[in-house]
């Protein structure tokens, strides 16, 4: 290092280099100060904007509430929206729309509709977040007139925009779009499966035929089929029982089989019990867990020893589900006997009995 210093000194550059450094750092400091000044400006600006928002909200709140209870008074609300505050009003309506459904939602849509054209243009913005916000607004306040825009957003290059579109379209008020959402489900493979399933289940029973078709499609991606199975479970779609039993008997994918077993636990009948029993001996812990859950519900009295035996499974998870299955199948006496014994899983039996008692 000293030789470097010596070289720099020998070249007569040391002082200049230091001053240059000081200048660069000085510029950075200036930048930070500008940043700080901007922060203070932003605080003042945001406070002012907040005050305006509060004033506008106060002005619109009562007439909007009145319009919700008496749709005939809706035109009066439009008189209170100045041209420069139209987008504020859309935001106001959007916040309300999140909290209401049915007829009240339709009133809000009527109130916001005249102001949605600029929002539709924003759905083509180059900025992802602007497009997302626009699609969310159109999805909440612009369906059905702006449905084509929202459906188109399912193909947006941004997964976030596509997800917001899917969320808007997967609604019980617009079940006609459920099939389109299912067609695009592969785009959301990174998302949590149960999250996607709950989104699809929100459409309601009207989505069941499309979900069954997707679940039963042997050429479909296992992830998509598993999501469809989970959604059918949430809908308790009894028509899907035979399909689930077939999937349990023939498929290999762990998540798909586990989802089908969960579906059987919800809608299965004694006719499906053979498929479930076969999976109770699966070498895969996850499959065994769900098979025992299902067996506890759709199984028969003959299955109690099988469930009791599974309480000795090396996996504590399997043992817990076997115990709960035993309880669900009415094997309380077996559980009580086990809890009083010196069996290694006696504590588990006590735990599950305690859960039954709510302690």
């Amino acid at each position: 290092m000293s030789s470097v210093v010596g070289l720099v000194e020998a070249m007569g550059l040391r002082t200049s280099a230091l001053w240059l450094l000081a200048l660069v750092v000085g510029a950075l400091i200036l930048m930070a100060l500008v940043f700080a000044a901007y922060a203070v400006y932003l605080r003042i600006h945001t406070d002012r904007r907040q005050r305006l928002w509060e004033q506008l909200s106060a002005r619109w709140e009562e007439p909007v509430l009145l319009a919700l209870s008496d749709p005939a008074s809706a035109p009066r609300v439009h008189e209170l929206v100045a041209p420069q505050h139209r987008l504020h009003f859309v935001r106001f309506a959007l916040e309300y729309a999140r909290r209401v459904k049915g007829e009240e939602r339709r009133v809000l849509q009527t109130l916001a509709e005249p102001y949605l054209a600029p929002i539709a243009r924003r759905a083509h913005s180059r900025e992802v977040e602007v497009r997302t916000r626009a699609v969310q607004t159109l999805g909440s306040l612009g369906l059905p007139p702006y449905a084509p825009e929202v459906v188109k957003a399912l193909d947006d290059p941004s997964p976030l925009v596509a997800m917001v579109a899917a969320r808007a379209l997967a609604s019980s008020e617009h079940p006609e779009h459920a099939a389109r959402v299912l067609e695009h489900l592969h785009r959301f493979e990174g998302w949590s499966r149960s999250f996607m399933a709950s989104m699809l289940a929100a459409v309601g029973p009207a989505a069941a035929p499309a979900l069954r078709a997707s679940f039963g499609d042997a050429h479909g991606a296992p992830w998509v089929r598993a999501v469809a199975a989970e959604a059918l479970t949430m809908l308790r779609d009894f028509d899907a029982g035979d399909l689930a039993a077939a999937v349990v008997s023939t498929e290999d994918d762990r998540e798909l089989v586990a989802s089908a077993l969960r579906l059987l636990a919800a809608v299965g009948t004694p006719e499906h019990v053979a498929a479930v029993r076969a999976r109770c001996a699966s070498p895969d812990n996850v499959v065994r867990v769900h098979a025992l859950d299902a067996l506890g519900i759709v199984g028969e009295e003959d299955d109690l020893p099988r469930l009791l035996g599974a309480m000795s499974d090396p996996s504590p998870w399997v043992a817990i589900h076997a115990a709960r299955g035993l309880r669900a199948a009415g094997g309380m006496r077996l559980l009580r006997d086990l809890s009083d014994s010196d069996h290694p899983r006696a504590a588990l039996a006590r735990q599950v009995l305690g859960e039954e008692a709510g302690t």
């Binding site: 290092m1 000293s2 470097v4 210093v5 040391r14 002082t15 230091l18 001053w19 450094l21 000081a22 750092v25 000085g26 950075l28 400091i29 930048m31 930070a32 100060l33 940043f35 700080a36 901007y38 922060a39 203070v40 932003l42 605080r43 945001t46 999140r98 977040e129 997302t132 916000r133 969310q136 976030l160 997800m163 917001v164 969320r167 493979e189 990174g190 998302w191 949590s192 499966r193 149960s194 999250f195 996607m196 399933a197 709950s198 989104m199 289940a201 929100a202 949430m234 504590p316 998870w317 043992a319 817990i320 899983r345 504590a347 588990l348 006590r350 735990q351 305690g354 709510g358 302690t359």
Partner: protein, 476 residues
């Protein structure tokens, strides 16, 4: 001989200057990345009402693990706050780690706890569990009473009894905001490969707390606590947000982090032979997933907040910093194979070298640099330009970066609503570099020395308890 010494000192001064330039350049880069990431995040929050989606359905059940050791002053308030969290399905497991005060008794009395059977679902090594209790009033509240084994041991005991896919590790002296779980679970919903996510810690000293929730956010009156507010803003908003934007998160605070239970169990749980078990676990998760070829992601999320009480005396602060530095040293030296190793991706190539050279070894260079600078100035063997450059790089640029951190807070979350507090934070950014920063560098040097000597143990921080809202008898 004398000339040689002066030459060495002169050379060292250049090393120190280079160190400060590199350190501040990294801070600047992470701040810039953080700026972009925070803007995107704020817009994203507006676009996707995730809280609504999570509440609707599909939210994975969560277990909150709160290890408690002698927390009688705050434990009841904290558990009350946990019981009011806004999340569809969660369990709370408080692990009483052999407290010698009345922590357990207070919890038993307050929440009507009764011994209950519950079997383990994992078998990480821990000190023996004495009893498991369940609240008769709140059926999702459990207490594990075990022999003392330290925080990591207590967390491992909690993991053993956790039966949800995700768990949230936290301190029993931290308060989670009501929406904290809804917010921190987001990366797990958006990316099924997420194995861990950390939230932001904020300082509760000076804030008004009611029913376990921070009602009024204020700067603390205590000057040491005020400096820590600024430090936390810089560490989380500039640092961790920036590292997250670079996809190289290497630290999740032990006071508030969410983990995928199965991955943590597969990786061996928390290490009990380090005082930096939080950082060690995250580094090990990177290593485990990379070595096993498991696709994974580790994130920092800037808006789920845990409020924590920070030390208010120099002695406690010194102990805390000593412990943090030891934890850092132990984590990094244990996993030094990751240093500049492309096998470990950005964590090994970017974050690990930063923490190793600038956070672990840096304080030694920094502290010696101040001494060398003073000697050079007092002996008259340096020129004016060098003095200006040193002060600019070591002090003024530090001030600028702290100001940038405050600005980031203002641009994003604005948790300090009073303009007076904002201006105080700017003033603190200046004052911090005139003594406090040098003091922390010294404590960290001592921490490094303690780590080299193999010093163990946590040290104890006496809790004052939170500032509760005043109530009349009727209101109570």
């Amino acid at each position: 001989m004398s000339t040689l010494v002066w030459q060495a000192l002169g050379a060292f001064n250049w090393v120190v200057l280079a160190y400060f330039i590199v350190l501040n350049a990294v801070y600047l880069i992470t701040s810039l990345f953080a700026f972009g990431a925070l803007r995107r995040y704020a817009r994203r929050l507006k676009s996707l009402d995730l809280a609504d989606l999570v509440r609707g359905a599909g939210a994975p059940p969560i277990t909150l693990l709160a290890p408690a050791y002698n927390e009688e002053a705050t434990c009841v308030e904290v558990v009350r706050s946990l019981l009011t969290l806004d999340y569809p399905e969660y369990e709370i497991i408080v692990v009483n780690d052999g407290s010698t005060d009345r922590t357990l008794e207070r919890l038993v009395a307050e929440f009507n706890l009764k011994p209950t059977a519950r079997i383990a679902t994992a078998f990480l090594d821990t000190r023996p569990v004495r009893q498991i209790y369940r609240s008769q009033r709140h059926t999702n509240l459990w207490i594990i009473d075990k022999e003392n084994g330290g925080k990591a041991d207590a967390l491992n005991a909690g993991v053993n009894f956790c039966r949800t896919p995700l768990f949230c590790a936290m301190d029993a002296d931290s308060l989670l905001e009501r929406e904290a779980l809804v917010r921190i679970v987001r990366p797990f919903l958006e990316d099924a490969h997420t194995v861990a996510a950390g939230g932001i810690l904020r300082i509760a000293n000076g804030c008004v707390v009611d029913h376990g929730q921070v009602l009024d956010v204020r700067l603390p009156r205590n000057v040491w606590a005020r400096f820590q507010v600024l430090e936390y803003l810089r560490a989380f908003l500039s640092g961790r947000m920036g590292w997250d934007a670079l996809r190289a998160t290497l630290v999740i605070s032990g006071a508030f982090g969410m983990f995928r239970r199965s991955t943590v169990v597969d990786a061996g749980g928390y290490a009990t032979d380090t005082v930096g078990e939080d950082m060690e676990l995250v580094v090990r998760l990177h290593r485990h997933c990379r070595e096993q070829g498991i696709p994974y992601a580790i994130h920092f999320v800037p808006d789920p907040v845990a409020w924590t009480e920070c030390p208010e005396t120099l002695r406690q602060l010194a102990r805390q910093r000593d412990r943090w530095q030891r934890g850092l040293f132990q984590s990094l030296t244990r996993h030094r194979v990751m240093l500049m190793n492309s096998r470990y991706g950005r964590a090994g190539l970017l974050a690990f070298p930063y923490f190793f050279f600038l956070e672990m070894l840096g304080p030694v260079v920094e502290a010696l640099g101040y001494v060398a600078f003073a000697v050079a100035v007092l002996s008259g063997r340096t020129d004016y330009a060098y003095v200006v450059a040193f002060l600019m790089v070591a002090i003024v640029l530090g001030v600028a970066l702290s100001i940038a951190a405050v600005a980031l807070e203002e641009l994003s979350f604005r948790r300090y609503p009073r303009l007076k507090d904002l201006l105080s934070l700017f003033a603190l950014a200046l004052a911090e570099n005139l003594g406090y920063r040098q003091l922390t560098a010294w404590w960290r040097v001592k921490g490094t020395w303690s780590a080299l000597r193999g010093v163990e143990g946590w040290g104890r921080m006496a809790r004052k308890g939170f500032t509760l809202v005043e109530r009349t008898d009727d209101e109570r």
